[in-house]
C-alpha cells in the first residue's frame, strides 16, 4: 500500500486503524524467484510493525503531524538474515514458506526452524524495551488439497496446525499474548513513541555460520550493520527524505514501491567487486605504508546495549596484521534516537610498534536506486570542506577526486532521492575527501583519513538530511 492509498482509506473509512501494508524485502529478489512474474516490489521497509508517515508508507512517522492514522504490519515475520541474502518466500513464519524452502525432514515432517524463527522474534524483546512481535498469515490457497512444493496437502495442513499449536503452547505458558489487528494497533500506540527505534541483533539460525546482522529502523533511516564484515553498514535507506513515491498505473512508479537505498550490498555490490570499481558500503581501511586492510575482512560479533537515547552496538575487537606491525581495534556503532545520524567510533586498543605510522580511512561508497540497475548519477553534487574553501564536484562520471586537509565534512546531495548525506568528524587533523565514479563504477565516495595512535578513539558521523 502506498501512502496515497493509506491516506485515502483513512479519510474514507476513519475507523480503520491497522493494515498489512508491505512484505519485508519482497523486492527484486522475490521477483526473480518467480521468474519475473510476481509484481511485488517493495524492498526497504521495516520488518516489524510501525506507524507509516503520511508521505511514504515505508518511512515511519516522526510525529503526530506525519502520522497516517494506522499501524502498519508487514505480511509475515521473516528471517532477517536468510531473506536478505536470498529468496524471501522461503524463510518466514508462514509455515508453508518453510515447506517451500524445503527446510524440513522429508521422512519425519519435522521443521524445528519454524519454531527457531518464532523464538528469535520473541528474543527481539531484549533490544526493544521488552516488546516483541510475531505473526502468521496463511491464505486458503496455501492449504489447497492439491498439495504444494512437492508435498501433499497433509503436510501443508500439519505445518499450519503445528505452527498454531506452538503459539497456543506459548500462550498457555504466559509467554505470548494474542491480539486482533485492531487490538494490536491500540497496544502499539499505547506502548511506543514515534521516535523509538526498532532494533534487531539477528543471528544465523539456519546455515550454521556465526554471522550476525543488526537492523535498525526509525523515522529517519533504516540501516543494516554486518558483523561478518567488521561492522560495515551494508544497507541504508534515508527515510529522513520521506519521499513522495506514488505507486500504480498513472504514476512514475507503476510497480516499484521500494524505498530507495544509498547502500545495498546485493544490488550494488559491497566490499567485493569483480575486476575493478567499488561497491556500496560504509566501512574503514587501516593503512600502514603501502599496506591496506579493509575492516570488511575482519569477521566479528557484537553485543547490544542501550544508554539513555543511544542504541549501541559494541563489536568484539579485531586484529589487523601488517608485515611489520599489528593493530588491535574495537568498533562501536551508535544510533542516537531521533537524530538522523550514526556515530561509528574506533578505539585503537593496541599497536605493536608505537613508532609505526598507521592511519585510518573512514569511507562510504554510495549511490541511489531501488533495483539492481544503476541510475543516472549526473544530478549528484559532491563537496568537501565548508564555506568559501569548499571544493565541489558536479557528478559527470569523470573519476575526479578532491580532498582538503583539516576539513571536517564530506558531502553528497542526491536530488532524485531528496537526500543530503555527509560524513563528519570532530578531529582537527583529518583530511576529508570526495570521489566521483565513472561509467563502470557509478558510485561516489565520501571519506576522511587520519593518523592513529594507541589509545585514541576516532569518531565519524554519518548524517542524513532531507534536501529538496
Amino acid at each position: 500500500m502506498d501512502a496515497e492509498l493509506i491516506n485515502y482509506i483513512k479519510e474514507k473509512y476513519p475507523s480503520i486503524k491497522c493494515a498489512v501494508a508491505t512484505c519485508w524485502e519482497e523486492g527484486p529478489k522475490a521477483y526473480h524467484t518467480t521468474n519475473n512474474s510476481w509484481y511485488t516490489l517493495f524492498d526497504g521497509g521495516p520488518w516489524n510493525p510501525w506507524i507509516p508517515s503520511k508521505q511514504n508508507t515505508h518511512a515511519p512517522a516522526a510525529n503526530e503531524a506525519e502520522d497516517s492514522g494506522i499501524v502498519a504490519i508487514p505480511h509475515l515475520s521473516r528471517d532477517l538474515l536468510a531473506c536478505y541474502d536470498g529468496n524471501g518466500s522461503n524463510f518466514g513464519t508462514h509455515p508453508q514458506n518453510v515447506l517451500r524452502g524445503m527446510i524440513y525432514d522429508t521422512k519425519t515432517w519435522e521443521y524445528p526452524y519454524l519454531y527457531n524463527l518464532i523464538d528469535q522474534y520473541r528474543h527481539l524483546a531484549k533490544y526493544n524495551n521488552g516488546y516483541s512481535y510475531n505473526m502468521m498469515f496463511v491464505g486458503p490457497g496455501w492449504l489447497n488439497k492439491m498439495g504444494r512444493w512437492e508435498q501433499p496437502y497433509e503436510l501443508l495442513k500439519k505445518s499450519y496446525e503445528d505452527g498454531m499449536r506452538y503459539y497456543g503452547d506459548l500462550k498457555k505458558e504466559g509467554k505470548l499474548r494474542d491480539l486482533t489487528m485492531s487490538e494490536f494497533a491500540d497496544f502499539y500506540r499505547a506502548n511506543k513513541t514515534y521516535t523509538e527505534p526498532e532494533c534487531a541483533l539477528w543471528k544465523d539460525i539456519l546455515y550454521g555460520s556465526k554471522k550476525q546482522l543488526f537492523w535498525y529502523v526509525d523515522p529517519f533511516m533504516r540501516a543494516c550493520v554486518n558483523m561478518d564484515q567488521g561492522g560495515a553498514i551494508v544497507d541504508l535507506r534515508p527515510y529522513v527524505a520521506k519521499l513522495k513515491w506514488e505507486v500504480g498505473i498513472g504514476t512514475p512508479h507503476v510497480q516499484d514501491a521500494s524505498y530507495p537505498f544509498l547502500i545495498q550490498e546485493k544490488y550494488r555490490a559491497g566490499y567485493f567487486t569483480h575486476y575493478a570499481g567499488e561497491g556500496t558500503v560504509r566501512s574503514a581501511k587501516i593503512c600502514c605504508g603501502a599496506e591496506e586492510v579493509d575492516l570488511c575482512l575482519c569477521r566479528t560479533h557484537a553485543t547490544f546495549s542501550q544508554e539513555g537515547k543511544n542504541r549501541i552496538l559494541t563489536l568484539d575487537p579485531v586484529d589487523i596484521e601488517f608485515a611489520e606491525v599489528n593493530v588491535k581495534l574495537q568498533t562501536k556503532v551508535i544510533f542516537p534516537e531521533g537524530e538522523s545520524r550514526i556515530l561509528i567510533s574506533r578505539e585503537i586498543l593496541d599497536v605493536s610498534d608505537p613508532e609505526a605510522e598507521i592511519s585510518i580511512n573512514e569511507y562510504m561508497v554510495a549511490c541511489y536506486g531501488t533495483t539492481e540497475y544503476p541510475e543516472d548519477m549526473t544530478s549528484v553534487k559532491l563537496s568537501v570542506g565548508d564555506g568559501p574553501d569548499a571544493v565541489k564536484i558536479d557528478y559527470a562520471y569523470k573519476c575526479r577526486e578532491a580532498s582538503i586537509a583539516g576539513a571536517k565534512v564530506a558531502e553528497a546531495i542526491i536530488p532524485p532521492v531528496q537526500t543530503k548525506v555527509t560524513l563528519t568528524t570532530d578531529a582537527d587533523d583529518a583530511t576529508s575527501y570526495v570521489k566521483e565514479g565513472y561509467a563502470f563504477s557509478p558510485m561516489f565516495t565520501l571519506g576522511m583519513t587520519k593518523k592513529i595512535r594507541k589509545g585514541e578513539v576516532i569518531g565519524t558521523w554519518l548524517n542524513l538530511e532531507k534536501a529538496n
Binding site: K29, H32, T33, T34, N35, G86, N87, S89, R100, G101, M102, I103, Y104, D105, T106, E110, P112, Y113, Y115, N116, D119, Q120, H123, M146, G147, R148, W149, E150, Q151, P152, K203, D204, I205, L206, Y207, G208, T303
Partner: protein, 70 residues
C-alpha cells in the same frame, strides 16, 4: 505428440531451485519425464525429488532446535 500437463504435484525444477528460481515443471506423458520450460533439466519424479533435496546442503542447522539467540 500430445500436449504436456502438470504432474500430480507442483514439482519444481531442481536446477532452477538451486539458483533461487521457483519454476513448476510440466510432465511429458510419452517420455514419462518432467521438464523445465526455462532451462534444460529433464527427469523422472524420483530424480526431481532427489535433486530438490540438494538445496538442503546449505541448511546445516535445519534440524537443530536453537535456544540461544545471543
Amino acid at each position: 505428440m500430445a500436449q504436456s500437463g502438470k504432474g500430480k504435484l507442483n514439482y519444481r525444477c531442481p536446477s532452477c531451485f538451486m539458483r533461487d528460481l521457483d519454476i513448476d515443471m510440466f510432465y511429458d506423458k510419452e517420455k514419462k519425464e518432467y521438464y523445465c520450460l526455462r532451462c534444460q533439466y529433464t527427469g523422472s519424479e524420483e530424480d526431481v525429488l532427489e535433486k530438490n533435496e540438494m538445496i538442503r546442503f546449505r541448511y546445516r542447522k535445519m534440524m537443530e532446535r536453537i535456544t540461544d539467540f545471543d
